[in-house]
């Protein structure tokens, strides 16, 4: 097995261990997650690509500094998303940026999952539905929007969302439920 293949196939925990031994190995963690992180940061509301890239860079630096804090009680991705969530929110606060949904990272697959969960598929033409959903998503508060992004666009499980947002799974479920209700309400308002 080539060196490149080896690093692609080993699990996250092993990559963390190797990165602690030699910082050069950290690049494999970055390569594995940079696209996902960039999408996530933009879905949370970083409008400009350059801003999102700066945040992602800070996220990985923070991950590197805190590598020793990672333990196997958590999935590495949940731990990474948690740091990304905190770093992005704190960056928004620091720059007093109002999060905005950028169109491209909200992919079709996510919209399909969301409209299927809300049983909206047959009501409108898909393209139009996506436009309305996007508008409705924009009008939700940050917490509701984030939980929808994590569930339908990042495809995280309840347990993972609980670990990312540091909330009990029960609270995640009820938050998601409330967010979906709010989304439906906005959507019905938009369609009318």
């Amino acid at each position: 097995m080539s060196q490149q293949n080896y690093h692609e196939e080993i699990d996250d925990a092993e990559l963390v261990r190797l990165s602690l031994l030699d910082s050069a190995n950290f690049v494999h963690i970055i390569n594995r997650y940079q696209t996902k992180m960039l999408q996530y940061v933009r879905r949370l509301g970083a409008r400009r690509l350059e801003d999102a890239e700066d945040i992602v860079q800070d996220i990985f630096l923070k991950v590197y500094l805190n590598l020793n804090d990672f333990n196997l009680d958590l999935q590495f991705s949940s731990w990474l998303y948690r740091i990304a969530h905190n770093q992005t929110i704190s960056q928004f606060r620091k720059n007093q940026v109002r999060p905005e949904l950028y169109s491209s990272p909200l992919d079709e697959h996510g919209f399909e999952a969301l409209s299927s969960d809300l049983s909206l598929e047959k009501e409108l033409d898909l393209k139009l539905l996506q436009e309305h959903l996007k508008e409705a998503l924009l009008s939700l508060n940050a917490q509701q929007r984030e939980i929808i992004v994590l569930k339908f666009f990042e495809e995280r499980s309840y347990q993972e969302i609980s670990d990312i947002l540091k909330k009990p799974t029960g609270s995640v479920a009820s938050l998601l439920n409330r967010a979906k209700k709010a989304l439906l309400k906005k959507l019905q308002g938009n369609i009318k």
Binding site: L20, F26, I30, V56, Y64, L65, D73, P168
Partner: protein, 297 residues
């Protein structure tokens, strides 16, 4: 996304000599959170044990004798300071558990009820071991504002106009008459029907149910031992007994030398034996003699 993000980050790590924080840093942080949690739990449990002690020693059954409803008597006797203190430490315990590594996984209600339950159980254990009594006793000996803040019983038993009086017996005149010093060092001539006679002795801290008969005269129907707060009343004996008279507020014999005080004691003892009524008159005219009177018995 720039393709060279990975390299850019690695360069930054190298150029700024960044190193992962050592593992002990996180272990220490985790231990600190747990230690703070344990300390918080212990303090809360101590507060709980004092609450147990104070509530156990309040005669809730007396409400009829003091013309009160059970609820208002009960509410009057609750140690609000300690309840507030306990609530504060239960919140801090909840905050600590929540900030442990996995604390966020549990519902706040579960965490708060666990914190309350733990404090109650440990508080009950401490109470059994006498911790509540000990803490109350230490505070009643030394804490400023003890009678206003820490122990609600002294307040509720210092309302002679409502038929409740507590204090220190400083002079026993006969089986039915004695002089009592209340919490403000006010003197009361107490008359009682001879009941619970064994409690009437100088230096005893008691509480009375009865009524005001005349100015500074109290007719007692019931006499009981005062438990929590006992040492607070005993403070009044201290200045004279320790010879540190200057600390006694309002005491006018500050400049008296030790032989002079000894002579005064001898004279007063004579008066007590020959003319006990005169001693009562003297006490009314010279209240600063009260601590000395305690020394006569």
């Amino acid at each position: 996304m720039s393709d060279n993000l990975g390299q850019k980050i690695l360069d930054k790590i190298k150029n700024t000599h960044l190193e992962p924080k050592p593992r002990w840093h996180f272990l220490l942080k985790n231990r600190l959170v747990w230690t703070a949690g344990i300390v918080t739990l212990l303090i809360g449990a101590v507060a709980m044990s004092v609450i147990f002690y104070l509530v156990n020693n309040q005669d809730l059954a007396l409400y009829k004798q003091v013309d009160s409803s059970f609820i208002s008597w009960f509410l009057l006797s609750l140690p609000y300071f300690w309840i507030f203190f306990l609530a504060l430490f239960i919140y801090l315990l909840y905050y600590n558990i929540k900030h442990t590594k996995k604390g966020y996984r549990y519902h706040p209600l579960l965490l708060i009820s666990s914190a309350i339950l733990l404090s109650i159980l440990l508080g009950a254990l401490f109470s059994t071991l006498g911790m509540g009594k000990y803490i109350d006793s230490v505070l009643s000996q030394r804490a400023p504002l003890y009678n206003r803040v820490f122990n609600p019983h002294i307040n509720m038993w210092s309302q002679p106009e409502r038929g409740r009086l507590a204090g220190l017996i400083v002079l026993k005149q006969d089986n039915q008459h004695f002089i009592l010093l209340d919490r403000d060092q006010g003197q009361w001539q107490v008359i009682h029907g001879g009941q619970a006679d064994h409690l009437v002795k100088v230096g005893q801290v008691i509480k009375l149910i009865g009524r005001i008969e005349a100015q500074n005269e109290f007719q007692a129907q019931e006499l009981m031992i005062m438990q929590p707060g006992r040492e607070f009343f005993m403070r009044m004996r201290t200045p004279f007994e320790s010879g540190n008279i200057e600390r006694s507020p309002g005491f006018k014999l500050n400049n008296a030398s030790s032989p002079e005080r000894e002579a005064l004691i001898i004279i007063l003892r004579e008066i007590q034996q020959q003319e006990p009524d005169l001693l009562v008159d003297l006490l009314e005219d010279y209240p600063e003699l009260t601590p000395i009177l305690m020394h006569l018995n």
